[in-house]
């Protein structure tokens, strides 16, 4: 079963990588769909690259037996989430709470070049390593 999940995660990663924009031909102003798995308290994949102006629909599947979050933001935003008390996310673009075994989606437009982070800020998850990066290229 683990092997199956690992293979599925790998396939998801490959699909996601191929879907990533970033100077690879993605047209600004278009929307692309990216699949992300939350498996063993890790983002799979955990690195993305998109071109400025790209709108991405993240389809986030939680395969774990625990809840997770998928929160996009810079360092300051991640720290705010780490210190925050919001029980659930989902209303703002780029922010999701994903219950055990469920799949949620969020759409986010990358307007400026730079690097953003993805994090899960349920207790100890971020420190455990549940984080990823998004590079936005101009």
């Amino acid at each position: 079963m683990n092997h199956r999940i690992a293979v599925a995660a790998l396939i998801a990663a490959l699909l996601s990588s191929s879907a990533c924009g970033s100077g690879d031909g993605t047209e600004p102003g278009t929307t692309q769909e990216v699949h992300v798995q939350l498996h063993n308290s890790r983002f799979v994949p955990d690195h993305f690259e998109f071109a400025v102006g790209t709108t991405v629909k993240f389809v986030v599947e939680n395969t774990d037996p625990i809840d997770h979050e998928f929160l996009i933001g810079d360092e300051a935003a991640q720290q705010a989430h780490e210190d925050g008390t919001e029980a659930h996310h989902g209303a703002k673009p780029g922010e999701l709470s994903i219950p055990i075994g469920e799949t949620r989606t969020t759409t986010y437009t990358f307007d400026e070049p730079g690097t953003l982070l993805i994090g899960c800020h349920l207790p100890t998850h971020y420190d455990y390593g549940m984080r990823g990066t998004i590079k936005i290229t101009g």
């Binding site: 092997h3 063993n40 308290s41 774990d64 037996p65 029980a87 455990y128």
Partner: protein, 349 residues
């Protein structure tokens, strides 16, 4: 995974115990984010096809709701309060206190949730036997107002491949107000099974830093010298060291037998004491115990059914051996750190 039951005539016994002093298990995260260490002691033995499992859960105080999850090899037929001195007596047998110098002063439920097979309350401790895979156990914990630590998914998947039976133990806040920190509640499970692996990996659950030491005392009581995998290190070494390996004394067996619910102990057994002292990041194995009756030890029991991803653990040669008539199993205490869910309110029971 299940094997044929050991013949009653083979009456093999194995006892495994994790003694309190050295057993600091998974971290429990309180609502304020602080981590407590839960200490417990466990003893399990197998006789006539039934595993007798005695463990002690210690009250940590604070009024917070917390608990632990223990993987089991089978479904218990009975869960009762354990004996009063069994765990302490076993510890004294193998770890006698140093002599006191003359003149020294003394003293001092919802969808996809795990199925609850059995639930009982013992002196303020709520014991629930669960059946379900990793996701179901996680959902059950969530439904009960707990969450598991982020390393739990991988560890639960590891154990769910072997047995989908878990025990959850929780102190009931309102019924624990008279308890002092450190108070232990012994419980005794009788588990019909013939599955001999001893969970050790789960002891590292909840350790945020892989360099954190995990210490535990493991006692095996059998009818002969067991064959172990991984092979233990010599006494005094780090890792899993063989500290005692000899016939159990008549006094010990007599004392154990005189405790509540312990009359099942046979007249003669071999006592093995293993000390676990290892970094959490290196505790990626369980203990497989080989016997003449069942063969083994088995790599799958010690290291799990690892996917062929190149990350398999080395498999040292089995240690000494012997002639066990049967096998036993001791599932123990694993421990999953249950923590109250952040941002959520505690649910008193």
């Amino acid at each position: 995974m299940k094997r044929t039951a050991t013949s009653p005539l083979l009456a093999v016994l194995m006892i495994l115990s994790v003694a309190a002093p050295a057993f600091a298990c998974a971290g429990l995260v309180a609502p304020n984010g602080s981590v407590r260490l839960l200490r417990t002691a466990t003893l399990a033995g197998y006789h006539d096809g039934v595993e007798h499992y005695v463990t002690s859960f210690q009250f940590q105080g604070g009024g917070a709701k917390f608990g632990s999850i223990v993987p089991l090899p089978g479904v218990p037929s009975r869960v009762t309060r354990g004996g009063d001195w069994t765990l302490q007596r076993l510890e004294i047998e193998t770890q006698p206190p140093p002599p006191v110098p003359l003149g020294a002063s003394g003293g001092s439920g919802s969808r996809d949730s795990a199925k609850e097979l059995y639930e009982t309350e013992i002196d303020g401790l709520l014991i629930t036997i669960l059946k379900g895979g990793s996701r179901a156990v996680g959902q059950w914990a969530k439904d009960e107002g707990f969450a598991l630590t982020p390393d739990a998914p991988e560890v639960l998947r590891f154990y769910a491949q072997r047995s989908k039976i878990f025990m959850a133990a929780r102190f009931i806040p309102k019924k624990s107000q008279d308890k002092q920190v450190g108070d232990g509640i012994p419980i005794h499970l009788r588990i019909p099974t013939d599955n001999p692996w001893v969970p050790l990996r789960i002891l590292a659950l909840g350790k945020k830093d892989p360099r954190t030491d995990v210490t535990a005392d493991v006692y095996l009581l059998t009818h002969g010298e067991p064959t172990l995998l991984p092979a233990p290190e010599p006494a005094g070494n780090r890792g899993m060291s063989l500290e005692h390996n000899a016939d159990a004394s008549k006094d010990l067996l007599s004392d154990l037998r005189s405790d509540k619910g312990m009359k099942w102990i046979p007249a003669k057994m071999w006592l093995t004491y293993l000390r676990i002292d290892i970094n959490a990041g290196k505790l990626l194995f369980d203990l497989s115990v080989g016997t003449d009756a069942r063969g083994g030890p088995y790599e799958e029991e010690a290291y799990g059914a690892q996917p062929d991803d190149g990350s398999s653990q080395p498999t040292p040669s089995p240690s000494p051996t012997s002639s066990l008539l049967g096998l036993i199993l001791v599932p123990l205490f694993g421990f999953g750190a249950l923590r109250t869910i952040r941002k959520g309110s505690l649910r008193d029971r």
